[in-house]
């Protein structure tokens, strides 16, 4: 039963994957746009941190970390996003730099 469901789902999924030809182009331009937005946001945050004499992770300059970074947990292998980490520590950095969500 599971196998039949799986097969059926894959077949249907194949149909979903075959979309209109202009789709990848849209997706690519969206990715490029998101990358540019992220770069702008990172630049803003780095400027914000430098003005306050904080390191790249939002801690006072001169902070040392186990493994060299607070973003990677060596016990779990899990990596967290730098901006998320900074925004959690400094909500005002988010106000200053995070793009405001568009109203629908």
């Amino acid at each position: 039963m599971l196998a039949v469901g799986l097969l059926l789902s894959f077949l249907l999924a194949g149909s979903v994957a075959a979309g209109p030809k202009d789709k990848p182009v849209t997706s690519k331009s969206k990715t490029a746009s998101a990358k540019a937005a992220r770069a702008r946001e990172e630049k803003c945050v780095d400027r914000w941190l430098a003005e306050r004499k904080l390191d790249a992770y939002g801690s006072p300059e001169g902070t040392m970390y186990a493994g060299g970074t607070p973003l990677f947990n060596e016990a779990t292998g899990r990596h967290i996003d730098r901006l998320d980490h900074i925004y959690r520590k400094h909500a005002e950095a988010k106000v200053a730099c995070a793009p405001t969500p568009k109203k629908r």
Partner: protein, 458 residues
């Protein structure tokens, strides 16, 4: 409508596939995998198999009488030899081997009785195989040809490695406990720069795991092995319980280790820094310079951001900056890289399983396996006695492999940090682009070759 159904079907299929994968590989990336719970250390190597004796009866003794005699001596089951009236007797719970032997030896039909000794494989010439039960899961030592390394050099307490980290579980003090598999490891007097006292106990987990890779008690029938297990360790606490410290603390820690004397000697020859930051510091740089000038080798982690920027102080030219590879000798995804990278060592990848026996998956994540206490129990309950063997990944775990090699090289007679660094780099296994590259530096450290004097002293 039709499109919605298709999308829902796709999501359902994805969920089923993920579920199936989940059953095949039950370990998740966010699991801290425990190999075994803490065990009470046993002194020395066990000479006899517990609860077993061998007894040989005289030819005239009938099997039924032999059976009665064995039962009377405490035997629960017995296996007869194919070649005569010799039996392997397993004793009932509560019966001591000595008592059983005493009884059997007084029985008239018994030719002899003896404990069942543990047979061990002969050591191959030039190799040393430790009898630590989880050593076979330490793929990271296998990758470095550890048994050949130990055949050349196992280290000596006259050479010490200072571990500047979150501390080490090295003593029973207050709520802190000595890790069971540090039984025979020699510790020098350390210092806690976070709390300002002489008890550099670990309250995080990180430092204990790092220190274990260097000098876990080895060949003691407990847990796992350490790469320079004959060398001494010095715990220096410069990071707090969250693994965070400062330039000032690290500089202080380096100076402490370098100036420490015992019996008029400076035993600290290597400093392990499984730590770093994103900016440089004059105080740390000068402390490193003083260490190197005093003949101490400094080894530091390249960092875990997965970016083309080696962390400070690993980026300093007189420090051995260490990156990490996984079980396939591929760059670990988190490992920093760049022109300052010196070498790489196994740091693992918890999302992969390539390192079982004969290269087949063994259902265990490819982390560096060492002993430490459970970080969750420590953080949530303030308990530092919940010891297990953990697979942990990172350049923090790669670094102590190289620090251990440096310690072994000192024991071999090399005394200058520049020569130690050259010996390690010149004998490394070239990975990636031929010659030195920014991804692997000079390549994967090869302790046995470095110790034999290839490269530098060729």
């Amino acid at each position: 409508m039709c499109r919605t159904i298709r999308i829902l079907a796709f999501v359902a299929a994805l969920a089923i596939v993920v579920d199936l994968i989940g059953h095949r590989l039950p370990l998740r990336a966010d699991d801290v995998y425990r190999v075994a719970s803490v065990r009470i250390p046993e002194r020395g190597r066990r000479a006899y198999r517990p609860g077993e004796v061998i007894v040989q009866f005289k030819e005239a003794v009938r099997d039924r009488d032999a059976s009665d005699m064995m039962r009377e001596a405490g035997g629960r089951t017995a296996r007869r030899s194919d070649f005569g009236p010799r039996y392997l007797v397993r004793l009932d719970d509560g019966f001591e081997i000595a008592d059983a032997l005493d009884r059997l030896r007084t029985m008239p039909g018994v030719d002899f009785a003896e404990p069942n000794g543990v047979a061990r494989a002969f050591q191959r010439v030039g190799y040393f195989t430790p009898h630590d039960p989880f050593y076979t899961s330490q793929w990271h030592f296998r990758m470095l040809d550890s048994e050949r390394t130990w055949g050349i050099q196992k280290g000596d307490p006259s050479v010490a490695v200072a571990v500047l980290d979150t501390g080490i579980a090295y003593e029973d003090f207050g709520p802190y406990r000595k890790a069971p598999d540090f039984g025979g490891t020699v510790f020098l007097q350390g210092h806690d720069f976070i709390n300002g006292d002489d008890h550099a106990n670990d309250d995080n987990f990180h430092g204990t795991h790092v220190a274990s890779t260097i000098a876990e008690a080895t060949d003691n029938n407990i847990g796992v092995a350490g790469l320079a297990f004959g060398c001494a360790l010095m715990p220096v606490k410069v990071l707090d319980n969250e693994g965070v410290g400062s330039f000032f603390m690290v500089a202080e820690g380096i100076d402490y280790a370098v100036t420490f004397t015992q019996n008029g000697q400076h035993p600290v020859k290597v400093i392990n820094l499984s730590l770093g930051g994103d900016s440089s510091s004059t105080s740390v740089r000068q402390a490193v310079d003083r260490a190197v000038a005093a003949g101490v080798t400094v080894v530091a982690a390249a960092g875990n951001d997965g970016q083309g920027k080696v962390s400070f102080p690993a980026a300093l030219p007189n420090v051995i900056g260490v990156g990490a590879v996984d079980g396939r000798k591929m760059k670990a995804p988190y490992s920093n890289f760049g022109p300052e990278l010196s070498v790489v060592a196994p740091g693992g990848d918890i999302n992969r399983d390539d390192t079982g026996p004969d290269g087949v998956p063994d259902g265990r994540p490819d982390g560096v396996l060492q002993q430490t206490f459970d970080p969750d129990t420590a953080a949530e309950q303030g308990r530092y006695d919940d010891f297990h063997y953990f697979f942990v990944v990172g350049t923090s775990q790669a670094t102590p492999h190289v620090a251990a090699v440096a310690a072994l090289l000192y024991r071999q007679g090399i005394t200058q940090p520049a020569a130690i660094k050259a010996a390690i780099e010149n004998t490394a296994e070239d990975l990636g682009t031929p010659g030195r590259d920014d991804t692997f530096g000079h390549g994967l450290v090869r302790p046995a070759l470095a110790l034999r004097g290839y490269g530098l002293n060729q």
